[in-house]
């Protein structure tokens, strides 16, 4: 054989042979990874064999969904990709909800799965699942490594793809034989680079002209502000132009809650002042947002008098749901740095917006002795101050947190917005507290959501993670119950959870400090005890199941048609 007879020239310094698993660990270390959230199993054992010498710390969760949510939250508070890891088959499928969550909210998440050995793939082998196929609709990109020599480049590209442009989840599937196989191939951990994107100067000038001439302009602030790390730029822009603002669920905190120009959250459970401003404005300046249906209500009647200036890094979001009169596809931070319109003359408009904001401001004087959850959440966030980070679950408590908590920045509010995944709160709080140990990270949960990932109390205990938990317990699936009350003729179907376990006893069984409050007079001492606890601590708060989230735009209705309840 002539090929064998002519030896390949060898590089001057041939690297020592390494396995695919070893290269993976080295590649993660080269990325500066601090934490990998994971759970071992058969098809990823070579990687777990290699990570005992890793520089990063592996956090053993108790369910892979917890790993994905914890890594997602780590990514949201740091802006760096979060990393989770699972074995093949059920380990991989347990990540799926977390991957979808990261996709919907654009969180940079790197997921690593083991798979059965390459010759067994496609044979329905034990714990074999085509996880690349399963996750295709919910990843930004994905790879199967077929050669250990490819692992460093795949990992470098995966981190780059996850974090660049509009962030999102990526998946690397590693067949077991590739983890084991040795390679001497030279490798580089250097990430690829994107060419800088040009901002269209014509559109910039049109945007500046439109802003300068607007009579009733409004900023519509989305999660893209956090993703672009453009909080300072947005605040400076709002200050310089004097334009009032509304936020989506994911945009909360971008303008300081104390800012007079901020009219609150828009949308289904938004403030009336925010929704009315949107309906009345003549120029809607959309900063990193995507016209989600929970934000817009009935789209055909959304902002009916407004021209739209849409700025987003993702060109595919522009015109997807609402036509843009002026569109700038580009990084928000860079765009705002060069967008300098003259300040519009809008004194009367600002006055009207602020008058509405004062008029429709929430009240906290509900009658009764029981705990009023909105007031508790407001007090909690104010007591924790700028160090407050909320990791919310999904339901009424999530909306109350969004409406009533004070967030110093959008990095302080972690919530499953797009997917609306119950069970996010506890593992997300865990990931956020590891990322920001100095912060007052508080999981705000409900009795329905909490039990979905309750096993992660064991992870808090194992690592001594001083996460604080407020569990608002109305012994029901409150938001579903509310909809049944309002839109299904009070036909309460499968929402009663009055046979919940004793959550204080459950937490204590996991070795977590826990206490219960049920009366309004206990709230301030409860908050103080929770925030002062040196380790993880759960406050079980009994609330009235009849409390609803107000105001509310009924599904399918215009944001002009808000329902108001008591108080």
């Amino acid at each position: 054989m002539s090929a064998a007879a002519s030896p390949m020239p060898k590089p001057a310094q041939e690297p020592a042979p390494r396995s695919g698993a070893r290269l993976l660990v080295e590649a993660l270390d080269a990325q500066g990874v601090e934490f990998v959230f994971g759970y071992p199993g058969g098809a990823i054992m070579p990687v777990y064999d290699a990570i005992t010498s890793a520089r990063f710390k592996h956090i053993l969760v108790r369910h892979e969904q917890g790993a994905a949510f914890a890594a997602d939250a780590y990514a949201r508070v740091t802006g760096k990709p979060g990393v989770c890891m699972a074995t093949s088959g059920p380990g991989a499928t347990n990540l799926v909800t977390g991957i979808a969550n990261a996709m919907m909210d654009s969180a940079p998440l790197v997921c690593i799965t083991g798979n059965v050995a390459s010759p067994l793939m496609g044979t329905d082998a034990f714990q074999e699942i085509d996880i690349l196929g399963v996750t295709l609709p919910i990843v930004k990109h994905s790879w199967i490594a077929r050669d250990p020599a490819d692992v460093p480049a795949i990992v470098a590209e995966a981190f780059h793809v996850a974090a660049s442009g509009r962030p999102g989840p990526v998946l690397i599937d590693l067949p077991k034989d590739v983890q084991i196989a040795m390679t001497r191939a030279p490798h580089s951990f250097a990430p690829p680079r994107d060419p800088p994107r040009r901002i269209d100067p014509g559109q910039l000038r049109r945007a500046e002209a439109a802003i300068g001439l607007a009579e009733r302009p409004l900023l519509y602030i989305g999660g893209g502000v956090r993703l672009a790390d453009a909080v300072d730029e947005v605040r400076a822009f709002a200050r310089a132009t004097g334009i009032p603002a509304v936020s989506t669920l994911q945009g909360l905190g971008a303008l300081h809650a104390d800012s007079a120009a901020h009219l609150g959250m828009m949308g289904m459970h938004g403030s009336r002042a925010a929704n009315e401003a949107v309906q009345a404005c003549d120029l809607l300046i959309v900063l990193g947002a995507r016209f989600d249906d929970r934000a817009t209500g009935k789209l055909a009647e959304f902002a009916p008098h407004a021209r739209v200036l849409h700025i987003d890094v993702d060109a595919a979001e522009i015109g997807k749901l609402r036509a843009a009169d002026i569109a700038i596809a580009g990084d928000l931070k860079s765009v705002l740095a060069v967008l300098s319109p003259r300040a519009p003359n809008i004194g009367a408009w600002m006055e009207r917006c602020q008058r509405d904001a004062a008029h429709y401001a929430p009240r906290y004087d509900a009658p009764g002795e029981g705990v009023y959850a909105p007031a508790l959440l407001k007090d909690l966030s104010e007591a924790a101050g700028d160090a407050f980070v909320a990791a919310c679950d999904v339901g009424q408590h999530q909306m109350w947190a969004a409406q009533h908590c004070r967030f110093a920045s959008p990095f302080a509010h972690l919530t499953s917005g797009g997917l609306g995944a119950m069970g996010y709160g506890l593992p997300a709080g865990l990931g956020a507290k590891l990322a920001r140990p100095e912060a007052h990270v508080v999981t705000i949960s409900g009795d329905g959501s909490f039990i979905m990932n309750i096993q992660e109390l064991a992870t808090l205990k194992r690592y001594g993670i001083a996460l604080k938990i407020v569990l608002l317990d109305n012994s029901s699936l409150g938001l579903v119950r509310q909809w049944q009350e309002l839109f299904f003729d009070k036909n309460f179907s499968e929402v009663d959870l009055s046979d919940n376990p004793d959550f204080v006893a459950v937490a204590q069984a996991f070795g977590i400090e826990a206490f219960r409050i049920s009366r309004r007079e206990e709230v301030s001492a409860g908050i103080a005890r929770l925030l002062a606890a040196p380790g993880p601590c759960l406050a079980h708060v009994l609330i009235d199941a009849r409390e609803n989230v107000w105001p509310l735009v009924p599904p399918g209705k215009s944001n002009s048609d808000m329902m108001h309840g008591e108080p």
Binding site: L132, G133, W143, G202, A316, I318, G319
Partner: protein, 90 residues
Amino acid sequence: MTDTFFILIDRSEGSLQRLIGLVERRGFHIDRMNVADAGAHREVRLAVRGRDSGRCVDVLGRQIDRLIGARRVSPAASATYVEEVAVCTA
């Protein structure tokens, strides 16, 4: 009405599924499809039709542009797409 895309995609595992899945998931029928080998890439011609009137082919084009390892050759991506957007959502 049918629109035809001409796209180059890389040969990595899942790339064809990724493209076809995107088109169907975003609300388009695939009326015709042709895949040809082109060295390092595959050439894909896709004739697509919106499943209902709310589907905008220009947005689909930009969603295809987002795929890693795919490059849309025609219709060419527009540098200023504002006019197209206004047409398809009118």
